[in-house]
Symmetry: D2
Subunit: 321 residues, 4 copies
């Protein structure tokens, strides 16, 4: 009886786009109206039990839907976000075009839901965080806000992602024959395109430390695990308390004694975080580990979570927990 | 015509033991005389084209061979090393029992071959390094010796290993159904049993920094990749020069511009090392990545390399490069 | 408001048992009351968002639940099935103890749901089919019933299963280091323990052909693909029609033009079947391929589907489609 | 002192081409002179410890080498084979252009080495078999030659290959994210392009049965396992004797009691074959399983084996066994 939120997905043939179609198609309060994929125009695709036909972005009836998820490539997204907004649709943008650290992001709520809930609620446009920033910022920001990171120190953030994070693009180095039984770091030298987003957010939270971020490519389909080493000025007896306090009552955050693993989070819209005090050091140091599914909490799931808040729906409606 | 070095392997049913049998069996100057595996006593196993029958350690004719590779578990190894020495055999011990940082290791050469060649040459007993220490120390020690690591800083050493590093032991968490599509950190909190070995070696080389080591379990069979972040006091214009100088002429070390990957080193007795200066930091920082095969350069291959030096054979004889 | 069906799971620590707990825990009309696992007694386990504590089978309050899923090993199951029945609970038995081709199976409905629906509806005890028989019988039985298989010919049924089919048992040959990058046939010689079940069912359906079944172990966690080659006496112009007719209106069966893949069925309670006429043969021959998730349609999912019919619930309630 | 056979590789950037460069580069009696790859012209590649620069095929000094391995795509190969022959080089062609069942293959020796040794020895041009035909024909031909297959029956040959068999081509369906955790049949309907090759060879050996061949794509990098079901007119008491006799003294064939696995053959130039009599059938039936490495015995290794015979070198020189 209640009106369902009508939804369109731009850029629906990629991994995040397909996941959005799947989640929106199963959402009790959403109805998937269109999905665009220029190169696959006319092809039928299956999202759960439903089948839909890809249209081109130009054909998308942006004015006929309540909500557009924009999963177009970085750089190409901005134009379509503005078109959809002009046509009257609310937009969750999954590209980096409107994220912190990028020009033109001022005033656009950053959809790191648990830490920006009031900005997102009721908003018309939300910039959905990157997958690595989601894993790392949800793990780090409570410590930064508590002012406990040693001033001027170096935060070493190493993280590894499944290959769906690299997108559905037929590059030779992403073939099964190349990725299986391999593991590699990339963007070594602290120049990954997600760095600006993380730095801007941490600085905004009062951070005053170098962050050195090194991503790796894992031979798995889905999941991100981040391992973060940082010196601290002091710590409560049980360091976990900082995170338990920061995320008290959160449905999509799990603070655990045991180290999180990809298996525990894959296909779920949650982040799992654990913290250990380093033994055998002269300076107090913590190791924070955090795990997400890069396509769920790291992309399509968090986008749905933000959309729920934008439309006054229950925050976890339609989300696998 | 030349006398071949006769070889026995104690603990031959594990992954490192099997690799030792394979490499010794193919070695142009070695002859595999026995392989012990108490639980598999009487079973035939294949090492390349050859078949051998496992005997129990008690049956091993320690006095009839020139060389014993001891691949028994930590703690259990010491007794058998001493027995083999008493029987007149030279020994390469692959356990941690005689490694730096362990009681009773004084005077025993540490077989990190490239950095301890003069100690190993002609020795009667050598402690073969752990797999993680091999990857991390070969990467770090040149920088430590050059005195370039910031005094009192924290070295964040994150590393990931294939499952053969966990041994051929039927634990539920090592089943294919558990490891595939998973990734996890373990020994989080800087308390891995390889830490003492690394700390002792770095301190001996003049190091004065905390090392925080976090290992991870990869869904691959073989290989270790280490990613090391550390602040430096200063650096030459091309940081690679430090490593190029330290390893000039080394057959088993490859210093590269591109980031090393597991694929490049698996089934080869080499370490590949690359170094990048971190951009976007206020303090000079480097990221060192290094890759080895945990069973070759990280265990059986390096053991053969050491044995070659102990017997005056060409250092790389019998080794896959 | 409606009374929920209270459910207990015996043998809940294996892969099928854990899947049953997960599905029953999420089922809109079921409530998970207990889960037994003798060796893990007292341990807490997570099934989705819920946590439960394993009890021993002896402690299980069989008389307090409406339904018991028995996922105990073959041979051990019979006794517990009878105990649960005596205590008044309905039972779905996932072992082979009451399946066709086994002594004592007379009169027990065989839960190959789509083909035995009337037997299952309202029943008190159902023998849930094996995973391989589910994939193969759903593919073959329509052809047998139509009387189209060449009299006295040989049906070659080759199938491959993910490792969860081998159970959560720490055997060395199931370690990641052994299974990854491997593939093997097993029970070669037509003596797999599922053969009797398949032969009995096919004979019952009027079959008069040898079936030669060869299972294989795949380096994947979940899924079974069966490839069945058989001579036929004749065929309709479009062979798919036989299956389209047999499964008209079935929610859990998908007849497709394209060859089914594991990806399309994993974590779904469906079977996908395709059929191709062989070219380049002198005798009319078809190749039938069918795919299921061995833990869902091949075990826990089909068990839920049967339970739904036993209790008059909607057949697909609580099932991922 | 002995003249080395100088070797060129056309089409060196694919998986088979790279393997050829690796094996030729390590061969004690061969010297790799050039490697062509039009799209990678000018790029340096590593084959073991050696580095070489790709040239275009047009630049290849065909007249300056003793031997050309042609690993170009089917259809494109014929022209270059003829050019190389005209320039005076002997040629092993790895494409299907000169294989049995293809027009223009008359008089060209078929390099299924063990079964065509006299044709290959000293030849100037050899058509190297396909990977699937190598696995299936080496398994089947002894039975066909013995005249034991039931006249007019159907041979069901199911086989599964690692993804390197599909080539180093960046197609979306070969991405890690698509292949991992999947398994599928392809060319279902007995229309794979290797069928003509197999049928022609079996007919030539006296076969009179339909062969129905169904290939599958495995989530592994290397290896082929074939599972072949066929009715037989009669069998010796120990069926293995047929194969033991046929392959007596062969260095690259292993007849085994136990079912062969990919692990046992990967990176080795061998085929492993096992045979089991089917129980529970009314008609005598056997199941033959055979395993090879698709890039070694199934392509580059067998090409080297043939080249050794063409030049009077020891048949297994340079081959990993």
């Amino acid at each position: 009886l209640v009106h369902k939120v009508t939804v369109g997905v731009l850029g629906a043939s990629g991994y995040a786009g397909r996941e959005l179609c799947l989640l929106a198609g199963r959402h009790p309060h959403m109805e998937l109206a269109f999905a665009s994929a220029n190169a696959q125009r006319g092809e039928t695709f299956r999202a759960g039990k439903n089948a839909l036909e890809f249209i081109s972005a130009d054909e998308a009836p942006l004015g006929d839907v309540d909500l557009v998820f924009c999963a177009l490539p970085h750089g190409a997204s901005r134009e379509w976000v503005l078109r959809a907004r002009d046509a009257g649709a609310k937009v969750v943008d999954l590209s980096s075009d409107f994220r912190p650290g990028h020009t033109g992001s001022e005033g656009v709520p950053y959809g790191l839901t648990e830490l920006r809930r009031s900005d997102v609620t009721g908003a018309d446009l939300v910039a959905n965080p990157g997958c690595y920033p989601t894993a790392i910022l949800l793990a780090l920001e409570p410590l930064v806000r508590a002012g406990l990171i040693e001033q001027g120190s170096t935060i070493a953030a190493s993280a590894a992602s499944g290959v769906t994070g690299a997108g559905y693009s037929p590059r030779p180095e992403l073939l099964f024959g190349e990725v299986a039984e391999d593991f590699r770091a990339y963007s070594v030298g602290n120049d990954h395109r997600h760095l600006a987003e993380m730095s801007a957010v941490l600085q905004d939270a009062g951070g005053n430390a170098d962050i050195v971020f090194t991503p790796h490519l894992l031979p798995v389909a889905r999941g991100i695990l981040a391992t973060i080493v940082t010196r601290v000025s002091s710590l409560p007896k049980n360091p976990l308390e900082i995170w338990l306090d920061a995320y008290d009552g959160e449905a999509c955050v799990e603070i655990t004694d045991s180290t999180p693993t990809l298996k525990e989070v894959v296909r779920r819209n949650v982040v799992r975080i654990s913290v250990a005090r380093a033994t055998n050091t002269t300076v107090p140091t913590v190791i924070i580990t955090s795990a997400i599914d890069n396509l769920t909490k790291g992309a399509a799931g968090q986008a749905i979570q933000n959309a729920n808040l934008m439309f006054g729906l229950p925050e976890t409606a339609g989300l696998p927990l």
